[in-house]
Every structure is written in structure tokens, then in C-alpha cells.
């Protein structure tokens, strides 16, 4: 692991909370305004592979945590140098009741489907995203279904316990 990396991040982003989750995994929590800057910064450091964008619903704190995991593409050339194992987990918190944030497509193009999925499953609105159209789900839900306050059992009971009426075509 590159020992100087946490220092570099702290130097450029004084508001960032840098901690090592475990070996080779660095967690960086930043204020949401700085996310695009820090992603561009680590991309320039060689972290050119956006692994995934995820979202965690911390319902007790009233916040969504958006998680961006980046690492680097490393070509294997004969010896295992350990380079390329390092991941940076960049995290931001956004307000649960006002779930809007900016897209990161200008920095990492392959964030597009991930943001679409989070929009659909958690109801987070990504401003600047070219198409926030439905991706996986079949129908509309009263609450986005992956939120912790979505009552799946109740929903299944209401929706599937009875045989739905067939609408006559006019």
C-alpha cells in the first residue's frame, strides 16, 4: 500500500476524513460539495477504474450514504507487485428527505447505469444525468423499494395475495 496516499488526500482536502478500513482499502468521507473534486484528483493519481457506485440507507440518521469505489487497472507483468490492490472507498452523506445529488458521469463514464439503478431503487435524484429512466423494476412503487422503510411483506400481501382483476379492453 502506498503510504503517502492518505497524506496526499489530507493535504489537498482538509475536510476529508481518511481512515483505513482494512488492508488495501482506504475509506474517505468528504462533504458532498467536494466529491467531484476528489474523484478527479484520485483519477489523476491513477485510480482510473470506477468499480461501483452504491448507496446505503442509514434510516436512523436520516441520511443516504453514496459510496464510490475506485481502483486502478494494473497490467500483470510477471511478478505480483501488490500494486493495483489498493481501493479507495469515497463516501458522502446526503439528506434522506431531500435526496438529490450531482452526477459523476463527467469524471467516470461508467457511473451511468449505477446512478440509474440508485435513482430507481432508492429514489436519489442525480442532476445532470442524461437518462434517469426505469432500469430494472416492472411497476411503480409507493416508496422506492430498496429503502429501509419499504415494507416488503405488506407490499407482497397487498399486491400478490389477491388475484388482480383483468381490465377489459375497450
Amino acid at each position: 500500500m502506498d503510504k503517502t496516499l492518505p497524506e496526499k488526500i489530507r493535504e489537498n482536502f482538509p475536510n476529508a476524513d481518511v481512515s483505513s478500513v482494512e488492508e488495501e482499502r482506504l475509506a474517505v468521507t468528504v462533504p458532498k460539495e467536494e466529491l467531484i473534486d476528489i474523484l478527479s484528483f484520485v483519477k489523476n493519481l491513477g485510480f482510473d477504474h470506477l468499480v461501483m457506485v452504491s448507496c446505503v440507507d442509514w434510516i436512523d440518521e436520516g441520511q443516504f450514504e453514496l459510496v464510490y469505489i475506485v481502483t486502478s487497472y494494473v497490467s500483470y507483468n510477471g511478478e505480483s507487485s501488490g500494486k493495483g490492490r489498493q481501493h479507495i472507498i469515497v463516501k458522502i452523506r446526503i439528506d434522506r428527505s431531500k435526496a438529490t445529488f450531482r452526477t459523476i458521469i463527467p469524471v467516470y463514464q461508467n457511473a451511468e447505469p449505477y446512478e440509474r439503478e440508485i435513482h430507481e431503487l432508492y429514489g436519489v435524484d442525480f442532476q445532470g444525468h442524461p437518462r434517469l429512466t426505469p432500469l430494472l423494476l416492472e411497476r411503480e412503487y409507493p416508496v422506492p423499494p430498496f429503502r429501509k422503510d419499504f415494507d416488503s411483506r405488506n407490499y407482497v400481501k397487498e399486491f400478490f395475495d389477491s388475484i388482480p382483476e383483468i381490465e377489459e379492453e375497450k
Binding site: 478500513v21 482494512e22 488495501e24 482499502r25 475509506a27 482510473d48 477504474h49 470506477l50 468499480v51 461501483m52 452504491s54 446505503v56 440507507d57 459510496v67 469505489i69 487497472y73 494494473v74 497490467s75 500483470y76 507483468n77 505480483s80 493495483g84 490492490r85 481501493h87 472507498i89 467516470y108 463514464q109 461508467n110 451511468e112 447505469p113 449505477y114 426505469p134 432500469l135 430494472l136 423494476l137 416492472e138 423499494p145 430498496f146 416488503s152
Partner: protein, 365 residues
Amino acid sequence: MRELELYFGPQHLGMVGNFSITLSVEGDRIVKATANPGFLHRGFEKLMEMRTWIQDFPLVCRINVIEPDSMEMVYAMAVERLAGIEVPERANYIRSVVLELARIQSHLFGLWGYSNLLGLDTVAQWAMYHRDLVLDLYEELCGGRVYHIYIWPGGVRRDFPEGFKDRIVKTLHTIGNSVPDYDSAFFNNRLFYDRAAGIGVVDKEEAKELGAVGQVLRAVGEKFDIRKVEPYAAYDKVDFDIPTREDGDAYSRIWVVRDEMIQSVHMIFKLLDQMPEGEVYNRVPNPFKWKVPKGETYVRVESSRGELGLYMVSDGGDKPYRVHFRTPSYTHGLILLERLLEGASISDVGNIMLSSYVVAPEIDR
């Protein structure tokens, strides 16, 4: 020329799997392609949040029908990291053998689909037969042909049965002996070259920009393989090569698949030779009361289609707080495929899709 909209799949002869693409076409040229996943969405990640750590095991393998073992592996690795469970040395070797067998059968399944698509049905039948031989091994090992539920946190569910090593060797010899047949009937076949060369070309920069992994990346000459970059199980104990090609088209991708299968066969022989004796399972606490410490982790393995990752958060309870799979088909099927299809011919849709190894259940989850 007039632009038409064409619905390609999920009920279409040229479409494999539960996946659909909406094509805007001019003549037989594709102007724009829009991927529509979701036909298999089962909400596994949500279901897993409602079940205990051990109850998630029968679920996790069902995410990917074709290669359930790497799903089990990535889940087991994440739980082991969070809970701090050690895995016995022999179990690591067994895991590697099982994962390589899974890679072979998954590639054979992919070859079945691909050669069927090109009309080379004989090769498809061979591939299906050889895949079945590998599934027979699985059946003997754990009782299930498709879903194995074999790799658990702390090791594997049970040791190899008596004489199992010999049967693995025998099966692999059967498959290996037919490589010349495969070569003459398929890989060196003019038909394959004519249909696949120059189709769905992606260059190195674009592949990286779009988050490509696996064969797609290795077919542009990038030696990116998690088994080497971040070794897990027993992959740092054996020597193997990462086959690559330079052209980045469908032809290169399928050749990479062929070479990978051969590497896997050699690797299994080496693993079986070196396999130590000993325990295969470290006991986990009582599953009904098992609480995994608070924390988060990201682990990844090299599945047969590329980097498969899992981001897992635990809040210290008896169930995972959040699980999110990063599947290789997700970026391949949703943005890379759309990009590759622009300007392609309608007859090449399945070709491009299968050669970049898009598997629908992985996208939907």
C-alpha cells in the same frame, strides 16, 4: 432512409437469455441501441438484508445461474473478512479447484451459445456434453448440478469424496483430448473467422473508460486478472498464464476464452498435485445467534466473465445491513454493449453480445 425501431428480445430467435435491446435501425445498420434489462429482477440484495448470514447462502448462488461458485466465493470472502474467520489451507485449494471447474463449465456453456449462434451446431453439442461431464463432478461433490452451496464461510461444506481427484483428472483428460476437435471444427474454421473478425471492436482506452473487465479487456492486450493482481484462495501458490489478444474484436475475445480454459485445466492438475491434507472447515459460531462485527468491506474475485465484487456493510447485527454486487455483465451489458452496437449490423447483435459475455441474471440480480 427511414429509421425504424426494432425490438430485439427477450422473445427473439437471435437473443440468448432474458434480455432485450431496442434498436433504431436504418436498413440493417443500427443507429442507436438501448439495453432493457429487468426481466429477471428478483431483488436479491433486498432479500439478503432480511435473512441471517447463513440463510443468505442458498440465495447468493442463485444470482448467477451459469456460474454460482464465484458468487458463493465472493460472499464467503466478505463474511470471513468482516467476522475475521480463517480458512484452512486445504479448503483454499479445494475452493480454487471448484472455481476453476466452474470457469471451465461456464466457458463451455458460453461456447455452446456462441457456436449455436454461428450455426455450428455440432460444436455446440460437444460443448454441452463436456459441460455436463463437469456438472457430474459437482453432483458427486455436493449433490447439486447447478446450484452447489458448497463454499461456506470458514471453508467448504465437505471434503472431496474417496477417489474424487482421479475422476476430476479423468474428466479433464476427456475434455482436453477433444481440444484438437474443437480447433479444427470451430476455432480454425473459416466460418468463425469470417463471422467474428472485426466485429464489435473496442480499443484499449475506450474499454477502460467504460469499465470493461475480463475477456473484453484481455482481448485488447491488457493483462488484468484479479487472480494475479489480488490473489485469493490458492491462486498465489500455482503458476499460470493470462492469455491475451490484441485486436479487441469478437474473434479475439472467443480465442481468449479458449486459451483460458486450457490454462484452467493445467492449473487444476497443479492444484491437485500440491493439495495438502488437513481440515476443510473452521467452525463458525452458532448460526442462529451469529452476529458479525460492525464494519464494511469490498472484496473481488475473477469470475469467468471478469471482475466480480461485493460491497458489504454490517451494522453488528445478525443480518447484513447492505449487500451490493458488482457484476461484470453490468457494465458490459448496459453501456459497453450499447456503444459497440452503434453502427453494427443487425445480424451481429447476438455475436457482439455473446462474445462480450453478457449474462442477464447478473445484470438484474
